[in-house]
């Protein structure tokens, strides 16, 4: 090799390297140079979507989580000298109307005019619906002259009329009046606990024992009616009538005994009252047993606040609704939603999987199967209310009515299965979600490697053995994904349910201690419908608003939990198919 050539090579190679290492050449920051000018758009769309979803979740979570936190009570003295008391809920700017401005003193008028006609106002939850005819009141800032938080103000959650805000004046125990303004008075607390215990006992007697007696009485009545309706020989009819004649007085006597016991407790409760005074001076006397919770809003340690917070959550999760659903708990709705979703999965899984198995494994692939597939996909796009109408018409009025005629003639004309109920709602939703399961299952089946099937067939397995032992287990994670999607869609659906069995209030759970323990024909409550009902159908949308958030939070949490459960199961299944070898 001669010198110039060597010099050339030596010079050439580093020069090339240097050019390649030039930052703009190796890492083009101009996306257009990469041939991907629109990447930022895709990323931006994703970011926007995430922000919106997170924003919604945060809004729901924050509002839901803070609803039950005890808030202080403010006593506000207005410029006209009157006073109001309530929990400040929120503040906002508003534009006072011309009449209001006209009545204002000139100084304030000038200030509002300087602010461009805008003033601030605060919403107070004043409670005392029985006295004021409203639970909330807006107070413009220019009407406030003073605000304080006296320690003796209490917020009382009661069985009727929403909350009471005011002071305690005294209480009566066994008809004897004691005057005290102290919520921590030990005698008051003892009387209160006793009254609540009696109240719980009354509820137990009425719900449990009287309920049982009523159930048996109704069963006897239906048994007699059944015999009388059918064409049984006269001897049997007489025997049935004799039996009823013997049973009915026994049960009625039991009922009366229990009712009397409850009545005694009620009478005792009537003698224990609490006397309250609202900020304007009017007095209200409440039975102590009707006080659900007494919150000393302005005089609480942090531990006490946490106690109130947790006890409110517990009530919310474990109790029935009160006060047109705006107070109390939502246990029946939680239970109804979970039960319906579970039933939906139980119904949709075999149906969807069997259909997909036939379509993918057995049916001859051709024009007909293609048509069926298109139809199934189209079913997924039908508005859900249409399914509701179908469910009501077909399941309840045709299938259910036939079941009633055949098996429950003694209850007619009141329907058993011939009306909306848990079972029909689940089946309607199963119908609604079956396309999702079919499509997912078909894909999962198609993704099972051919070598697996051939291996099994080569061992002398029949087609069905191959499907059962090899294909289905292998496709299970995919099928589970379909079921999870179906579940998520079904649990959040409300519109069709309104037609096929969801009601505003159904304190009776669909399970109880009477045969057959699970009552699929009963109507039920649902979190989604509950949100609609509380938020938009109750007497006071402001009172329902916190409940809307909490219920939404709960519905999301429930769906989340069910999905997590299903995903965990799926991942367990998936792990079985992962080898260490690649």
């Amino acid at each position: 090799m001669d010198a110039p050539t060597r010099a050339q090579t030596e010079a050439g190679i580093p020069a090339q390297g240097a050019r390649q290492r030039r930052p703009d050449a190796i890492r083009p920051d101009d996306l257009r140079a990469e041939g991907e000018p629109w990447t930022w758009l895709l990323g931006g769309a994703l970011a926007l979507g995430i922000v919106m979803v997170l924003g919604l979740l945060l809004l729901v979570a924050w509002n839901g989580a803070t609803t039950f936190w005890p808030r202080p009570i403010e006593v506000v003295t207005l410029t006209d000298g009157s006073r109001i008391a309530g929990e400040p809920v929120r503040s906002q700017a508003f534009r006072p109307g011309p009449q209001i401005i006209a009545e204002l003193p000139p100084g304030i008028r000038a200030r509002i005019a300087a602010d461009g006609g805008i003033a601030d106002r605060t919403l107070y939850r004043t409670g005392n619906y029985d006295l004021y005819g409203d639970d909330f009141r807006w107070v413009p800032d220019f009407q406030r002259s003073a605000a304080e938080r006296p320690g003796d103000m209490v917020l009382i959650e009661r069985l009727e009329w929403g909350v009471f805000v005011g002071r305690i004046v005294g209480f009566t125990h066994d008809g004897e009046r004691t005057t005290t303004g102290d919520p921590r008075n030990p005698a008051l607390e003892a009387a209160y606990r006793a009254a609540r215990a009696r109240w719980a006992e009354i509820r137990r007697i009425e719900r449990g024992e009287i309920g049982t007696v009523n159930h048996h009485l109704e069963a006897e009545r239906l048994r007699l009616r059944r015999v009388l309706l059918g064409d049984h020989p006269p001897a049997e009819r007489e025997a049935a009538e004799r039996r009823f004649a013997a049973e009915e007085p026994r049960l009625t006597a039991a009922y009366q005994r229990l009712a009397a016991a409850a009545q005694r407790l009620r009478a005792e409760n009537a003698r224990d009252t609490i006397i309250l005074q609202e900020i304007g001076g009017r007095e209200v006397t409440l039975p102590l047993s009707a006080v659900v919770r007494l919150v000393r809003a302005n005089d609480m340690t942090l531990t006490e606040k946490i106690g109130v917070y947790l006890s409110r959550w517990w009530e919310f999760l474990s109790e029935e609704p009160r006060e047109a659903n705006t107070e109390g708990g939502i246990l029946p709705a939680i239970f109804g939603t979970a039960a319906m979703t579970l039933l939906l999965v139980i119904a949709v899984a075999p149906f969807g999987v069997v259909t997909a198995l036939y379509l993918r494994e057995y049916a001859r692939q051709g024009r007909i199967t293609a048509f069926v597939r298109i139809s199934v996909n189209n079913l997924a796009g039908v508005p859900s209310i249409v399914y509701g109408v179908f469910g009501l018409g077909f399941f309840a009025y045709i299938v259910g009515a036939s079941i009633d005629r055949l098996f429950f003639p003694e209850k007619l004309p009141s329907p058993t299965f011939g009306t909306g109920g848990l079972l029909w709602a689940s089946l309607t939703l199963a119908l609604l979600t079956v396309p999702v399961v079919i499509v997912a299952t078909e894909e999962a089946l198609a993704a099972v490697p051919r070598s697996m099937r051939e291996g099994s067939l080569a061992c002398g397995a029949s087609k069905w053995q191959t499907i059962r032992n090899i294909v289905l287990p292998r496709a299970m994670p995919g099928i589970m994904t379909g079921l999870i999607l179906a579940m998520a869609r079904g649990a959040g659906e409300v519109a069709p349910l309104m037609l096929v069995g969801v009601v505003k209030l159904a304190p009776e759970l669909p399970i109880d201690g009477f045969f057959p323990f699970v009552h699929l024909e009963r109507s039920f409550m649902h979190l989604g419908f509950h949100i609609y009902d509380v938020g938009f159908q109750s007497r006071n949308s402001e009172a329902g608003k916190p409940m809307v958030f909490v219920t939404t939070l709960l519905l999301l949490a429930l769906i989340f939990l069910m999905n997590i459960g299903a995903i965990l199961v799926r991942n367990r299944l998936k792990r079985r198919f992962q080898g260490s070898q690649f």
């Binding site: 692939q365 490697p449 070598s451 697996m452 099937r453 051939e454 291996g455 099994s456 067939l457 080569a458 061992c459 002398g460 397995a461 029949s462 053995q465 032992n469 090899i470 287990p473 292998r474 079985r576 198919f577 992962q578 080898g579 260490s580 070898q581």
Partner: protein, 274 residues
């Protein structure tokens, strides 16, 4: 005609059969067998007798129809849409394409090992027991004995005996392939079909499988598709060379390899094309 003469142009469609020295009876007889994938013909009028208890290698360039022929023997091709066949194939005298033939019983008489190991996502034990399970064998003792015998037969027992209940997917590639062989012989078949069983394996695993095939010789009739001339030379008694859907030349391996009578065969076995 001397054995060393190269026939440049055999008669169209004719197969050259070398004289056999072994007396073994045919286990599988293929007679005038043709096969079409839809409109495309993949096998052309093939006739061959696979001798019982011997190892027969199918060699030929890619796409010449070796797999197709092999899969026709246990009717694996039935799964493919639009397939059409003429001619006949019989196993020990039973026509396997007879309308009344029981495909499942047929497949139980023929074990198959695939190109890529395809263990099922189950335990090692259940993989080998699978042919018995689909047969409905419930007796635990029989199942256990069979699994052990098959794993020993596939030279996997020593490696697997302590982890029988672990997932088969945790085995190495070569172990998986031996597991598939164990599974194929667990059903006690008469014929073992192997489609390039070593193509996914390293030389050591390949040597193990070849040793295994050598051990199985005599117990089973083995038909093995292979791309490796040396492998065919090492393990097989007979060799059939295929080209464009036809069996060109068939005879004892040593004869086909050293004294082929068709030019194409010679070119292929000497590595000049293929």
């Amino acid at each position: 005609m001397s054995a060393t003469t190269i026939i440049e142009r055999p008669a169209e469609g004719a197969t050259v059969y070398h004289p056999k020295t072994s007396e073994a009876a045919p286990a599988v007889s293929v007679r005038g067998f043709s096969l079409w994938y839809g409109a495309k013909q993949a096998l052309f009028d093939n006739t061959i007798d696979i001798q019982s208890g011997m190892v027969t290698a199918l060699i030929g360039p890619s796409g010449c129809g070796k797999s197709t022929l092999l899969r026709s023997l246990n009717r694996m091709n039935d799964l493919i849409d639009g397939i059409r066949m003429t001619g006949s194939i019989s196993l020990m005298g039973d026509d396997i394409y007879a309308p009344a033939a029981d495909v499942i019983a047929l497949r139980k008489r023929m074990g198959m090992v695939f190109q890529k190991p395809n263990p099922f996502p189950m335990s090692i034990f259940e993989n080998v027991a699978y042919p018995l399970r689909v047969d409905g064998v419930r007796d635990r003792r029989i199942v256990q004995e069979t699994v052990e015998r098959s794993l020993r037969g596939a030279a996997l027992w020593e490696e697997a005996k302590d982890r029988l209940n672990e997932s088969a997917l945790g085995l190495s590639g070569g172990q998986q392939q031996r597991l598939c062989i164990a599974r194929a012989i667990a059903g006690d078949p008469e014929v073992l079909l192997m489609d390039e069983p070593c193509s996914a394996l390293d030389p050591i695993a390949t040597a193990k499988i070849e040793e295994l095939i050598d051990n199985l010789r005599g117990q089973y009739t083995i038909i093995i598709v292979t791309h490796s001339m040396s492998q065919a030379g090492r393990v097989s008694d007979n060799t059939a060379f295929m080209y464009l859907g036809r069996i060109i030349e068939y005879g004892e391996t040593s004869t086909v390899f050293t004294q082929p009578r068709v030019q194409r065969t010679q070119e292929y076995v000497t590595g000049r094309f293929g």
